[in-house]
């Protein structure tokens, strides 16, 4: 069994000449909370639809809990073990909250009554309210309840916090943390909100133009990326050939600002060999990493 709950390799998909996925590689470790980041239209929803078996990629592979998501025979097995929350939160318009729960429950032998009542209570969901009368945030919470209570080992959530106010957002994020800590559930969620991803994710991928351009442990990325400000007595002559890891260099007078994606100590050493009198090091936020890569791409 692989250590990855989700694994895609060279996934490609075009719609009428528009490339949605352009060789997407993803590895989502078992037990992680994985933030799938990207701008609108970057390919997040297409990826999730491929994982759900709702669309056929042109080429490449996609495995969910070790099963090929592209093989229609695996559809039922995957749905038994994976909870999905899709972007389209329409549900069944004629049912109430109570009715849709009663309707969904029998499909899942491992249904968790304890989680069902916990979420009804914590999320304050009105049992007798018809689904179209729920607010967008309430619909998001209801979708999450239906996904979680089936006893899922893996949650695949497309913009799960859509429409939540800050208080409700904190509740939902806390519940996801609890699920991860107490049940070991792997959580894969897409978002374009950096703040919520930074809050609960331990792994991320940034997708742009259908490709994953940065991925890994969030803390490791933050440790690898650094901004250096070097002041020189005299500016090095001519074009400097910087060592590996220098992403961007900006010069202003005798000060050079460097964005490093790795090998920070090697870069500091090189700067000093050019008679850099002062080297200051600053941490780089996820926002800066995101903007740097999405802008350059």
């Amino acid at each position: 069994m692989s250590n990855f709950a989700i694994e895609t390799s060279a996934l490609r998909k075009s719609y009428k000449g528009t490339i949605a996925l352009n060789g997407l590689n993803l590895e989502v470790p078992q037990g992680s909370i994985f933030g799938f980041l990207g701008r609108n239209g970057a390919g997040k929803t297409t990826t999730i639809k491929a994982l759900m078996g709702l669309l056929r990629p042109d080429s490449g592979s996609a495995r969910v809990l070790g099963l090929s998501a592209l093989d229609p025979h695996n559809g039922i097995a995957i749905r038994r073990r994976v909870g999905f929350v899709t972007e389209d939160k329409e549900l069944y318009p004629y049912m109430t909250v109570e009715q849709i729960i009663r309707f969904t429950r029998p499909f899942f032998p491992k249904w968790r009554g304890d989680l069902e009542s916990r979420y009804l209570d914590i999320f304050d969901l009105p049992r007798n309210c018809k689904i179209p009368d729920l607010s967008k945030g309430m619909r998001s919470k209801l979708m999450l309840l239906l996904a979680v209570a089936r006893g899922a080992e893996l949650l695949i959530l497309d913009e799960p916090t859509d429409g939540l106010d800050p208080a409700a957002l904190e509740e939902v994020l806390r519940e996801l943390v609890t699920l991860s800590a107490s049940e070991g559930v792997t959580i894969f969620f897409s978002s374009h909100q950096l703040a919520e991803v930074e809050q609960i994710a331990d792994h991320i991928a940034i997708v742009d133009h259908g490709r994953s351009i940065v991925s890994g442990s969030l803390d490791d990325l933050k440790a690898r990326y650094q901004r250096l400000r070097v002041v020189f007595e005299r500016v090095p002559n001519g074009e400097v050939r910087w060592v590996d890891g220098v992403e961007r260099v900006e010069q202003e007078g005798r000060t050079i600002s460097i964005l490093a994606s790795r090998n920070v100590d090697g870069i500091v050493e090189q700067a000093r060999s050019f008679a850099g009198t002062s080297v200051e090091q600053y941490p780089v936020t996820l926002k800066e990493i995101f903007l740097e890569h999405v802008r350059n791409n």
């Binding site: 943390v177 933050k222 000093r272």
Partner: protein, 136 residues
């Protein structure tokens, strides 16, 4: 076993497990936590701070590796007895730093200037260690 001692800044560029490690160490240095005291469980701290439990676990593992805490299987995390000696060393170091900073401040340097000087020296020291390692 309160989580109130800890507060991480999620949007900072500093890795969260390092922030958490620093706060545990700081709590030990100031005496807010002393040898034998129990830390919150991974789950409780993750829920209270709304942060990733794997990240809390990583901080605890690293702290154990550095000898600051002991993880007792099934019982939780405790401040290690061996920190008592370390606390004495850091208390002494505190005196050295204190007198150095007082001298710098009396020569007219601002708080920011002093902080940058210290950080610059630390960065140079680290680079020196690395190039020293390569020459060996």
């Amino acid at each position: 076993m309160s989580s109130a001692l800890f507060r991480v800044n999620h949007s900072s560029g500093t890795p969260l497990y390092l922030q958490l490690m620093d706060q545990v160490k700081h709590a030990v240095e100031t005496g807010a936590l002393s040898a034998g005291e129990q830390l919150p469980t991974i789950r409780k701290l993750a829920e209270d701070l709304v942060m990733n439990p794997n990240t809390v676990a990583r901080a605890y593992r690293e702290l154990e590796h550095e000898g600051v805490i002991e993880l007792r299987h099934g019982l939780g995390a405790y401040i290690s007895e061996s920190v008592t000696g370390r606390v004495k060393v850091t208390r002494k170091a505190q005196n050295v730093v204190q007198s150095a900073i007082e001298r710098l401040a009396s020569s007219g340097l601002s708080e920011d200037e002093i902080r940058r000087l210290v950080e610059n020296e630390l960065a140079l020291l680290r680079a020196e260690k690395i190039s020293g390692g390569e020459n060996e």
